[in-house]
């Protein structure tokens, strides 16, 4: 790092803030919170980049975007060239710029972060993607001639959409099978509108459609047709079915009324537009005091959704401390601004109902931090005799998800990894079954959008090699 001495430029160590909806206003609507950089701010922020000779930020990006490359185009004002640069390796920049945990990835590596604040790489990525969306035409890449090979993709989440994108450009025929009535996976049913507008997800899915993807909705691979049946028709198959099966805490009372999985809570609101009930048919209960259990993005999204649905008090109950919260920092700060009460170092042990079987209160333990565990985070240990009762008339459980067993259950020859996901080779994304690849949350368990896309990219390259007889 010593050779990166920024000699020519004085260090501009403060990142430019991104305009946001005022928190008094935004808690009353479901519109996007972060508003994006205007052009002058984007160029100013981009100018902070030192254009390091050996840029470390690139290494922090799971799909290896040429970060200084696109940032330089912003400084020059050539936004079309900038977005082209990003799209060489990332098909979904409007999404990644919004939801990537940048502070753990690209921005963590930025040298400016050592002296002050790193360049806002995610915000600049988002800026270019939004700029492009505002133009009349979206560029379609040069497509390779048709190969006549057919690939089936299970799941229209970020992993599946990335594979489709790459294989279409390489000239292969792609059919995506999606169980739900909309495409996008977690981006549609999980992440709320106020963080990732659904119109953006639709635009990205439409883009692969324009590249020629066929999409079959309401199609559950495993029961509508099995993987083996599809393999009779297709040359290769990619499983990007995500990790949709919600975990519960396995404590007494979880089946009480008013106790939801975050998936249920968010699906009712996002996919089924429950917040617009009765215009849309799916209702959501509007309780007064909501407790969300967990500390990741899913928990933040659930808590902030509860705020917007009009709850009087929203508590986020997490068993470790604030530093260990796995959620994106920006969303933790947003949640705090919006009035979510953080009950840290707190572990629910029992849910207690009223005489009608509705949740009434939650028995919790206070925790303290002990030695680091396998994940490197300090292990929470209960404080003896610290039990207390916390009233709640809704509890949302957001402690994680694992891959759905439906596909392994119906597909002989697919081996599982320790997390219950599909076992794959990291270099090729191939599963233990011939002609079947997999990636994203169905392999890793609940992870990130960008890692799902990274897997998709690896799988597409390996599928292409296989289809063209290069291996």
């Amino acid at each position: 790092m010593a050779d990166e001495k920024p000699t020519k430029k004085t260090l501009d160590i403060k990142r430019r803030p991104m305009p946001k909806q005022d928190h008094h206003e935004r808690i009353k609507n479901f519109e996007e919170v972060a508003l994006g950089y205007p052009v002058p701010t984007a160029r100013e922020e981009a100018s902070r980049c030192l254009d390091c000779k050996t840029a470390l930020c690139n290494k922090g990006c799971p799909v290896g975007i040429d970060i200084p490359g696109f940032i330089k185009r912003i400084v020059e004002g050539d936004f079309a060239a900038g977005i082209r640069k990003i799209k060489e390796t990332n098909a979904l920049p409007a999404i990644c710029g919004r939801v990537c945990p940048q502070e753990e990835q690209c921005e963590k590596m930025c040298v400016l972060g050592k002296k002050g604040e790193p360049v806002s790489i995610g915000r600049l990525e988002r800026f270019l993607a939004d700029w492009e969306a505002g133009q009349d035409k979206i560029e379609i890449p040069v497509m390779a001639p048709k190969t006549g090979k057919k690939v089936a993709i299970v799941g229209a989440g970020p992993a599946g959409v990335t594979v489709a994108n790459d294989l279409l450009i390489l000239g292969h025929d792609v059919t995506i099978y999606e169980a739900l009535h909309e495409c996008g996976g977690v981006l549609i049913y999980g992440i709320p509108e106020f963080r990732l507008p659904k119109s953006i997800v639709k635009r990205e899915v439409d883009y692969v459609r324009r590249l020629g993807a066929k999409i079959e909705m309401d199609f559950i691979v495993g029961t509508t047709r099995t993987v083996d049946e599809l393999l009779e028709e297709f040359d290769a198959l990619f499983v990007g079915a995500g990790a949709g099966l919600p975990w519960f805490m396995e404590i007494p009372g979880e089946n009480l009324n008013g106790v939801y999985s975050a998936n249920e809570y968010l699906t009712r609101v996002n996919l089924m537009k429950g917040y617009r009930f009765p215009e849309y048919d799916t209702p959501v209960k509007q309780p007064a005091r909501v407790a969300v259990v967990g500390g990741g993005n899913v928990a933040m999204d659930s808590a902030r959704t509860a705020v917007r649905l009009g709850a009087d008090e929203v508590h986020l109950v997490y068993r470790r401390s604030r530093t260990e919260l796995p959620a994106r920092l920006e969303e933790v700060e947003n949640a705090e601004e919006e009035g979510v009460i953080f009950d840290l170092l707190t572990l629910p042990v029992r849910l207690i109902g009223d005489e009608n079987g509705w949740i009434k209160e939650m028995e919790c333990l206070e925790m303290e931090l002990g030695e680091p565990d396998d994940s490197g985070r300090r292990r929470p240990v209960p404080v003896k005799g610290s039990n207390f009762l916390m009233p709640a008339d809704a509890v949302v459980i957001a402690i994680g998800n694992s891959p759905n067993p439906l596909i392994p259950m119906t597909t002989p020859g697919l081996e599982l990894n320790k997390k219950g996901g599909l076992m794959t080779s990291p270099e090729t994304a191939r599963t233990s079954k011939a002609r079947v690849w997999a990636g994203g949350d169905v392999v890793r368990g609940a992870a990130t959008v960008i890692s799902a896309m990274g897997d998709g990219r690896i799988a597409a390259a390996s599928i292409h090699k296989y289809l063209t007889g290069q291996e």
Partner: protein, 277 residues
């Protein structure tokens, strides 16, 4: 979009509903269900499958009109389309040669028990069917069921057909006919599932119930359909919908089904049966 082939009220408040959905028709098995959305802004509701025609690519369900969504379904005419018809979902009912099997059907379950009867008969079982309804005017598909059964028993509350009575009379009616089932399979409203299980427990008759909880996605994602079975949490959509009726925590299940009552998320199979007991 899925074309409605037929939608008619076969008995008061129960509709026979046939949709062209070749992918579903080709792979559906007894005991499975589909998820249907009546219109673009509509909610996703589960419907048990009652029949299908693999060649024509059509699938038939029986639904009861109760709330907003089923009211929308009940207005559909042949030729119209619906945006979602996804399936088949859930595990199929276990079909093998068990010996003598008693099928109990009520309400929409008179329809969904039919493919179970057909498959069990083909597997070589002696198949008896027990239908329960408030009156003869609520019975349907008796011919189809008779053709798939070795014997039929009917109980109506008002005595307009079969024995005047209800499910509680089932054990006596069977024993009068000298029948001891090796397995009982029940389809219908929650009360019928629960009452049958209570009746068969002391008799030691293995009882399989086809559960009908609230669901959203139907693929294991939302976890709304969780049921306590033998003290363990199960998801009806991926682990069921068939479960051992003697292992279900019925009190909890009833409470959960009622949870969205006021907002009518669950209009579908919340039937008038409750008033019978």
């Amino acid at each position: 979009m899925y074309e409605v082939i037929e939608r008619r009220m076969i008995v008061p408040n129960l509709h026979e509903f046939t949709v062209r959905a070749p992918a579903v028709a080709r792979s559906v098995k007894p005991g499975q269900f589909v998820i249907v959305r009546p219109e673009e802004n509509g909610e996703r509701i589960p419907l048990s499958v009652a029949d299908w025609d693999r060649e024509a690519g059509t699938v038939t369900s029986i639904f009861m009109q109760v709330g907003a969504s089923t009211a929308k379904l009940a207005r559909l005419k042949p030729g119209q389309t619906i945006p979602t018809y996804a399936g088949p979902l859930g595990r199929k009912t276990d079909i093998e040669n068990f010996g003598t099997v008693l099928l109990v059907g009520g309400c929409y379950g008179i329809g969904s028990i039919y493919p179970v009867a057909r498959a069990l008969k083909e597997a070589g079982n002696k198949v008896y069917t027990f239908l329960e309804a408030r009156g003869s005017f609520l019975l349907y598909w008796e011919d189809k069921l008779a053709a798939a059964s070795d014997g039929m028993f009917i109980a109506t509350r008002d005595g307009t057909k079969g024995r005047k009575g209800h499910i509680a009379d089932m054990p006596a009616m069977l024993s009068a006919a000298g029948i001891t089932p090796d397995r009982v399979i029940v389809n219908g409203c929650t009360f019928l599932l629960m009452r049958t299980s209570e009746l068969t427990r002391p008799l030691g008759w293995k009882t399989v119930v086809n559960m009908n909880p609230i669901m959203i996605d139907g693929t294991g994602m939302c976890g709304v359909c969780r049921v306590s079975v033998g003290g363990k949490m199960k998801f009806a959509c991926v682990d069921g919908p068939d479960f051992d009726g003697h292992e279900i925590d019925w009190a909890e299940f009833l409470a959960r089904r009622k949870s969205y009552g006021p907002e009518e998320v669950d209009p579908l199979r919340r039937s008038s049966c409750a008033s019978h007991f």
